[in-house]
Structures are given as structure tokens and as C-alpha cells.
Amino acid sequence: MFAYLLRRLLYAIPILLGVNLITFALFFVVNTPDDMARMQLGVKRVTPEAIEKWKTERGYDKPLFLNPAVSGVGVVTDTIFFAKSARMFVGDFGRAEDGRDITREIGLRMGPSLAIALPTFILGLFVTVSFALLLAFFRATYLDFWGVVLCVAMMSISGLFYIIGGQYLVSKLWRLVPISGYAVGLDAWKFLILPVVIGVISGVGASTRWYRTIFLEEIGKDYVRTARAKGLSEPTVLFRHVLRNAMIPILTGVVVVIPLLFMGSLLTESFFGIPGLGSYTIDAIQAQDFAVVRAMVFIGSGLYIAGLILTDISYTFVDPRIRFDR
């Protein structure tokens, strides 16, 4: 297993390099260092000298990928790409264009993001799996039919509608919780309850349909018939046999997103005023803050790779036939 993990981690390096390269190329296709300088310095009364000074100080006065003005390895290392990318591989994300430390900022914002994402994820998983099992239990009945109709309706509605509708009903009309905001510690619950509930409800439709399909496929298999033939109750059949055997496809979709929970949600955080990493990313894109965009894409890629590795590992727990060793 160790050898497998090591191999996967080594594979991650070229992937991260590639992602970084693509991010870099895409960013600089639409933004020049001059644009970045103007965005930071403002558009009023900015002189060309000030822009040059800004670029020089932040190392944006160099060529993007290759520097023909120098010789040796300097051709590659004395470039914006190398100067801005190399340190990220040792976990140093540097400073945002406004001078603030990115690692510190990420550390501060990770908590609020997780405070929403984690309960939404766990509760959402519980609700959707339970609902899907219920529909599978009542398969081919009116309950199943209307349940599927409800799921299709729910997945057809935009996530934004749930947020605005939820804020309107729960916070504005019924005045049960604050409409937006955030607090640390125990005071956070009143700000989190609505976004979490909305997050769960908005995800119920699509996930339930997906899990229901998986469960129905399993229910038709021989081992389920055997279990029933042995006289096991339907809940025992569903929870002990069907659910366990349906875990592989569930884990494929679920475990991979666990590390990405750190990255936060763009929409939810904006509407509920949660100071998480989702809104940090959006702000950076709007401010053309390449340092932050690059760091967030890099972290996102790293976490996605971590999620894939975790998914592989999780298979070994639910399916004893899967082993990493030859």
C-alpha cells in the first residue's frame, strides 16, 4: 500500500505542474502584468512609471516563460512562471497582490468554509442515502413515483433559488434566523443552520436519484434474493446487504469531494456572508489577484488528487477483494 501511495503521490507532481502551467497560461492570456498593476493601483492618476515600479517590485517585469536575455538555467528560472510557481511546491504561497500573506488568509478562512461544508456534506449524505433507500424500499409504488417526481423537480431548480427563497421565507418572513453573517464559536450555529439546511435540500434531488438507481440495481441481484429467502427483514436487507454492496459507486462520488470541502462554496458563502475560501477565490478572480488565484487552483488540484487517493483507499475498506498489493 505504501508503494502504491508513493507512486500516486509521484504521479501528482506532473499533474500539479500541468495544472499550474495551464492556470498560468490562461491567466496571462486575459491579463497582462500591466492590467494587474492597474487593478491594484487603481485607474485614477496612475502614471506609467508607477506601473513599471509595481511590476519590478513584484517580479512581473520579467518574461513569462523563457528569458532569452540571460544564459544557462536563468533562461528558465529568471521568468515570472518559475519565480511564481517554484515556491508553491514547498507550500509557500507568498503574498497576495495587496501584500497580505496567503497561507495565513487560507488558514483563517478554512474554518468558516468547513463549518458550512462539513455539516452540509454529512447531513446531506445521510438524508439522501436514507431517502434513496426509502424509495428503493417502496419501489414501483406511488410513493416511489412521487418521490422521483419530487427529486426531478428539486434538481431542476437552480441553487440560487433555494438560497434566495430560503432567506426570504426563513429569515425575512418568519424571522427565525439571521439572514446572513457569521460568528465564531458557539454563536455560529444561528448563522449556519439556514445555509446548511438549504445546502442539504438543494442537493437532495440529484443525489437521491443517483443513489436510488444504484440501490435498485443492487436489489435485483441474486445475493439480495438469497438474503430475503433466508427470511431477513427488508430493512436488514437494505441496510446490511444492499447499502454495503452499493458502497463502491457511492464512495467514488463521495470520498473524492471530502478534501474539496475545504475549498468552500462560492454562492452560499457570498449570499450568507460567510468569510470562507469560496468567497476568497471569487474576490481574487474579480481583483485579478494572480497570486491568490494560482494558490487556490493549486490547492484545489492537490486536494482533488488527495480525494482520488482517498477514494482508492476507501475501496479496500468496503470491498475485501480490492488490495493494493500484488
Binding site: V30, N31, T32, D35, R38, M39, Q40, L41, G42, V43, K44, R45, V46, T47, P48, E49, A50, K53, W54, E57, D98, G99, R100, D101, R104, L108, R109, P112, L134, F137, F138, T141, L143, I164, Q167, L169, S171, K172, L173, W174, R175, L176, V177, P178, I179, S180, G181, A183, K190, F191, E234, F271, F272, G273, P275, S279, Y280, D283, A287, Q288
Partner: protein, 724 residues
């Protein structure tokens, strides 16, 4: 049944917990306190007075830093009064030999002007660790290293704070900071052209910074020729030539004091890594100090316990007394203890929290306009019944901003110089100025929140004139006591005279196609552009919209690669120079890299501009301003668009609010009736509990049939199994 019982018990407990104001987003401990609640949309990028230049930042910086001058809170037109200075300084003009000249001396004789600023003694800085001293008077935190900073994550983690008296040296230090190579002050380039020696000073600092890239630059080691200390409380600034607008700059945070100790304190190793910078934790003498800085979520300003004695003004404009704005005359400022600013990125939560009483004031977004305001047939603005019932007040003012559609005068068609001829191009521009109905635009797209512009000057500035004298005679005629836009027929006539009858070239018959460069946007922009195409269509001119992103748009402007563009300008200070310079030949974008994006150049206008910018607000100046406006109206390098109106709503418990588009240090004048707020919030935010009951009952109705169905099914399976 046990599960059902537990559920109901939980529900009852939840209902019992639901007292009043469950939706209060603030800690219970803050209830009943003199706290001003507001919101901010964009996180401030800079709080360092050398760098900060945007409105989002000045909400905070203007309350913390105190420049020597400020604007009178109530008087209009905007009037400069002393801030930390003892009086508004009178410039001393000097000739080439350094001899004093009378104030009315011609500008050609004035080689330099000297502003001597004397500040009030006894002003103290806010408590700050940079001033903390030991028993021997030595600074406690002046030589920290990474080890000493262990466990320090915020400014509040320093156990000892101190203060000291404000001196003239602090102002000199800040002026030097404008040239600091690591700070990139946006006004350095402009100020370097005015303050004697600032440009050279910047070069010296840049050299020193290159030699010691990570070391603290002690600016006191480097003399600045044009800024000198007279005594502990007095300093002099020497400017090249005459620059009367400098007084307005002295009312901005760029010229607020920065103590050398703070600069040194924040320059210590390890500080920046912890965001312990002046950009994050400002130090000032103002009425408030920043006690919580979380620009992602919440910023808190608390009363500065060391704030100097300043009192609420006792005189104002006509009507101020009647509207209760003089009730607090003579009371010591600030009138509010704390101000909490919460970040709201979306307008819907912002608006709803205002309606619930959790924000004391709010603007009106277009989404909530109809809910807040009613426009009468006559165009009068009134609050809606709902707002009036809540006691909400509406404050309106025309902002000191101008939005316009500019022509690139270097373009052969609309500029004419190297193409169709200047006269033809001028008539084309005039025709378009008439055809584009700004009043309709304001009505459709701005809910009436604006007034059509007659010239670059917005209301409130010297030279702006109401009535017949103020209209743009090229576009409007004065009829029945009001300005009436000329007819499209007149525009068509001008277009024909320009050689484009019915929108076609008189010689070739080719249709006239014009290009508008603009930034792209959502549906709102689409409908605006469609409207604009129709306006051009009135003259049978085809408009091609070249939408692009902001960066490309700016780049096109810099390169002069536009034909028509849309822009706006917010006043830095209330002087006509601040708008007329946008069309001065010396500011031409292509020729000089300046702010004149239209690259307009008119010899007479340029001459008058040079004359006007150095004058005081005299009748002679008014005459010149009128002539300059007339030249612009005739040449039409811009289609004068509109001056936006700001609509602000304030709750009944918020007092002393008067719209102010130039000054930002207005928090100290405001007052809150806390008891009234508590009462209203309680009244407006009683929770509605029936949905919870309904939800509980609904769940029972869902669960019970499911359980029954489950049991029936289990039994039926068993039965069918046993039957087999």
C-alpha cells in the same frame, strides 16, 4: 412512539428557545449600546494613508486618520475648515528671487507657493503598542524578532500600549512616505510635479531601497527639500508655481500624520507575515480607531479615548436647523461609541437586514427601488407607505460625479482632424448630443436617480449654474421655464450639414457606422446598449458595440484605439479644475499619457484652463469657467451624460445625517437613539413560529403513513410467503 414523543419534545424545546429577535445577527451583549451598524460590499485593499484612494477604504480611513483640514459637515457649497490645523493656511507666493508676491500676482510671476500649516498642540494618538515605553522612556516594541513575536497574531496581543502627542514631524513623515518605493502611492506622480524636490526624493529612496531591500527605510535620514519643519507644531510645504487645489489635498488622508514609531514598529521582521502592517492596523489621531479588522467579515471602529476636543458644528445651511441638524450643537464628538461594519456582498441580505433594523442606514439598490420609493407623475420622489410607516427617512443628493460618452478626437470620423474635417465632425458630435436622450436614459435605467449633465461640472461645484444660464445651448432650448431637449429634426439637420444626410455619406452614399467601445456586462448592459443603438438609429446611424473586458477597454483607451467610449469621473475635491482637467490638452492620453481620454485639444480652452486653475473663486474665474463650458458645449468632445443622484435611507433612530459626497469623516457627527432602536427591532422581529409547528406536523403526517405502509408491506410479504 418513543421517536414521535422525542420529536415533539425537541420541537417544544426549540419553540421555547425562540424568544424574540431570533434573527438578530449581533451578539446579545451588544443590545442597547451606542453602536452604529452598517455594511460594506468590497473589502478594503489598503488602509495605509499613502496608498488608500477608494471610497470603500475611506469609510474607514477617514474616521481614523486626521489630515490638517476637513470639510464643514453642514455648509454647502463644500467649505474647508481646520481639522488638526489651527486654521486653513493662506499660501505665500514667491517670485524667482524668493521674494513674496501679493495674492493677486499673475501666475507667470509665481515661481513657488508656500503653505505653512500649524497644528493644534496637545492632540494625542490612539493607544497603540508602537508608542509603548518602559520606565526609562525607551520604546518597548522597537526591537522585536521572530521569537518575541511568537504568540502575537493581532495588535491586541501586545499587552502594553502607549500614546504620544501629534507633532509636525508626523505630517512631514507621511509626505515623505508618498514617495516610498515600496508603497506605490497613487498620487506620488501627481504630487511629484507640485511639491518641490519630491521627485528627486523618490529617486533617492528608490536607490536606498535597492541597496537594502529588506531593511526599514528611516525617512528622517533623507531630507525633502520642499517640506520643512518650522517648530514642533508647524511645517511648511513648498510647491512649484501656484496650485490652490493643494488645500483640498490637505483634507485627504494622503496628508494625514503617520508617526515614525509606527512605521518602524511595523517594519520589524516577522510583522508582515502576520499581517501586522500599517495597511492592516492603521494608527491615527481621529475620533475612531480600528479595533477589529476582518475585512472578510466585519470591521469594528471604536471611539478613540484620546481623541481631541472637537464639537458638533453650530451653524449650517438654510433648513438645517428646521431638519434638526443643529440640535447637537456644541456637543463633544464623536456621538457614537462604536461602529460595526459587516461585509455584505449581495444586495438582498443587505436590504432585508436594513428593513429588520439591523443596519441603521442603507442605499437603495435597483432590486429594492420600487419597494422603497415612489415616483410621482411630476417626477417627485417619495418614500413608499411601508417605509414611511417604519419611520425611515430618505436623503437624496446629486453626486459630485459626471458620466459621459466621449469621442476620440484623433479618430478621422468623429474627431475629424485628419479625416472628414473638423467642422463636419463637430456637427456630427453635436447631432449625436441632441439625439441621445439622457432624460429617457435616466428615467428607464436609473429609476430617475440622476440629472442630465449640461457640462462636465456637477452641482455643488463652483461654476455650476441652474436655470437658463446653466443649460447646454447646443442640445437644449429654454422653453416654458425649463430646459427642453432640441428635436431629432434639428439633430438630423446638423447631421446633413456634417455631410451625412439620413445617416449616409453625401458623396458616396455609404452608411455611417460608428463604434462604441465599452465593457461587457449582463442583461442590464444588453438592454442599455440596445437602447443606445436605437438612439443612434434615430439619425439612421448604425452603432456597432464593441464590448470587451475592463482591461482591454482600458488598453484601447490608452492606445487611442476607440471611436466612442463611455466613462465617468468622481470628484476628488469640489473644484472645477478637477473636471476641466479631463479635457485639457496637457492631459491628452496619447500625447502625454494623461486623463484626457478623448485627446481633445483646443488652444483657447487650454489657455483658459491654465488661467482658471490658479484662481480663487472670484467673479473673474466664473467668467472663465462659463467660457470654458461654452467651448466644450460647442466642440462637444463629450456627450454630457448625467450626474447620478444618491438615495440613502436612514432609520428614525439615526440622527444628524446629511448627504456628503466629498468628505468621508462623517461618522463622528452622527447620533443614535438606542432606546428607539431597541423598541423598533423588538417590534419588527417577532419570530413567526407556526411554520415550525407546521413542519413538525407535516413530518408526522409523512412518517406515520410511511411506517404504516412499511408494516403492511412487511406483513403482506410474510403472508404471501406463508401462503406459498
Amino acid at each position: 412512539m418513543r421517536a414521535v414523543r422525542s420529536f415533539f419534545l425537541m420541537l417544544l424545546l426549540t419553540l421555547a428557545a425562540c424568544g424574540s429577535e431570533q434573527n438578530d445577527p449581533y451578539p446579545t451583549s451588544e443590545r442597547g449600546q451606542s453602536i452604529f451598524y452598517s455594511a460594506f460590499t468590497e473589502r478594503p485593499k489598503h488602509l495605509d494613508p499613502a496608498q488608500s484612494y477608494t471610497e470603500d477604504e475611506s469609510i474607514f480611513t477617514a474616521q481614523i486618520y486626521e489630515p490638517p483640514l476637513q470639510y464643514h459637515y453642514l455648509k454647502r457649497p463644500y467649505t474647508l475648515v481646520a481639522g488638526t490645523a489651527e486654521r486653513v493656511p493662506e499660501p505665500l507666493f514667491l517670485d524667482a528671487r524668493g521674494n513674496p508676491l501679493p495674492p493677486e500676482a499673475p501666475s507667470s510671476l509665481v515661481v513657488s507657493s508656500v503653505y505653512e500649516v500649524r497644528i493644534k498642540p496637545g492632540i494625542l494618538y490612539q493607544p497603540h503598542p508602537a508608542f509603548a515605553t518602559d520606565g526609562n522612556g525607551r520604546l518597548l516594541y522597537a526591537e522585536l524578532d521572530a521569537k518575541a513575536l511568537r504568540g502575537i497574531d493581532a495588535l491586541a496581543d501586545f499587552p502594553v500600549t502607549g500614546t504620544r502627542e501629534l507633532t509636525a514631524d508626523d505630517y512631514i513623515y507621511q509626505i515623505k512616505r508618498l514617495a516610498h518605493p515600496r508603497l506605490h502611492s497613487p498620487i506620488f506622480g501627481m504630487m511629484a510635479a507640485h511639491i518641490v524636490g519630491l521627485k528627486e526624493f523618490g529617486e533617492t529612496l528608490a536607490l536606498a531601497s535597492r541597496e537594502q531591500p529588506d531593511a526599514w527605510l528611516d525617512l528622517d535620514r533623507f531630507p525633502l527639500e520642499g517640506v520643512t519643519r518650522v517648530d514642533r507644531y508647524t511645517y511648511r510645504v513648498r510647491l512649484t508655481g501656484r496650485y490652490p487645489q493643494f488645500l483640498y489635498w490637505l483634507a485627504m488622508p494622503f496628508f494625514a500624520p503617520v508617526p515614525r514609531e509606527a512605521d518602524r514598529f511595523y517594519s520589524q521582521p516577522g510583522m508582515a507575515e502576520k499581517n501586522l502592517t500599517l495597511d492592516w492596523y492603521p494608527v491615527g489621531t481621529g475620533p475612531y480607531m480600528l479595533t477589529e479588522n476582518n475585512p472578510n467579515s466585519r470591521m469594528v471602529l471604536s471611539r478613540n479615548p484620546n481623541f481631541r476636543r472637537e464639537t458638533y458644528p453650530c451653524e449650517g445651511d438654510d433648513g438645517d436647523s428646521e431638519s434638526g441638524l443643529l440640535k447637537d450643537c456644541g456637543k463633544p464628538l464623536p456621538l457614537i461609541e462604536t461602529a460595526v461594519f459587516t461585509r455584505e456582498k449581495e444586495s438582498i441580505p443587505y436590504w432585508n437586514k436594513f428593513l429588520q433594523g439591523y443596519y441603521d442606514a442603507s442605499g437603495i439598490s435597483s432590486d429594492s427601488f420600487d419597494q422603497a420609493v415612489r415616483l410621482s407623475v411630476g417626477g417627485d420622489v417619495q418614500l413608499s407607505d411601508d417605509m414611511r410607516e417604519r419611520g425611515i427617512r430618505l436623503l437624496t443628493s446629486v453626486r459630485a460625479s459626471t458620466f459621459y460618452m466621449g469621442f476620440n478626437m484623433l479618430d478621422p470620423v468623429v474627431g475629424g482632424k485628419s479625416g472628414v474635417g473638423e467642422e463636419r465632425a463637430r456637427k456630427l458630435r453635436q447631432a449625436l448630443s441632441i439625439a441621445i436622450d439622457q432624460e429617457e436614459f435616466i428615467s428607464i435605467f436609473m429609476n430617475g436617480r440622476g440629472i442630465a449633465a449640461m457640462s462636465p461640472l456637477p452641482p455643488g461645484l463652483f461654476g455650476y449654474e441652474e436655470g437658463e444660464a446653466g443649460i447646454n445651448p447646443v442640445v437644449y432650448a429654454w422653453k416654458n421655464g425649463r430646459a427642453q431637449r432640441k428635436s431629432v429634426d434639428e439633430a438630423k439637420k446638423l447631421l446633413a450639414e456634417a455631410g451625412w444626410p439620413n445617416g449616409r455619406d453625401a458623396k458616396t452614399g455609404e452608411p455611417l457606422v460608428l463604434n462604441l467601445d465599452t465593457t461587457s456586462g449582463g442583461m442590464g448592459d444588453k438592454s442599455r446598449l440596445d437602447w443606445l443603438i436605437r438612439q443612434f438609429g434615430k439619425l439612421d446611424i448604425q452603432l456597432v458595440v464593441r464590448a470587451t473586458d475592463f482591461n482591454r477597454f482600458q488598453e484601447k483607451l490608452r492606445k487611442g484605439a476607440v471611436q466612442i467610449y463611455f466613462l465617468g469621473w468622481n470628484a476628488d475635491y469640489p473644484d472645477p479644475e478637477n473636471f476641466f482637467f479631463l479635457l485639457s490638452g496637457s492631459e491628452g492620453q496619447i500625447a502625454h499619457g494623461g486623463e484626457n481620454k478623448s485627446n481633445y485639444a483646443n488652444a483657447e480652452y487650454d489657455r483658459l484652463f491654465v488661467e482658471m486653475k490658479d484662481m480663487g473663486n472670484t467673479p473673474e474665474r466664473l467668467k472663465i469657467v462659463r467660457r470654458m463650458k461654452h467651448i466644450l458645449q460647442h466642440d462637444a468632445p463629450w456627450i454630457f451624460g448625467f450626474h447620478p443622484k444618491s438615495y440613502t435611507l436612514g432609520h428614525a433612530w439615526l440622527h444628524n445625517r446629511k448627504p456628503n459626497d466629498v468628505a468621508n469623516n462623517i461618522l463622528k457627527y452622527q447620533r443614535i437613539d438606542v432606546a428607539e432602536r431597541v423598541l423598533r427591532r423588538h417590534e419588527w422581529n417577532a419570530p413567526v413560529l407556526w411554520p415550525l409547528v407546521f413542519l413538525g406536523v407535516g413530518l408526522v403526517f409523512l412518517i406515520v403513513p410511511a411506517v404504516i405502509a412499511y408494516r403492511r408491506r412487511e406483513r403482506s410479504i410474510a403472508r404471501s410467503t406463508s401462503e406459498h
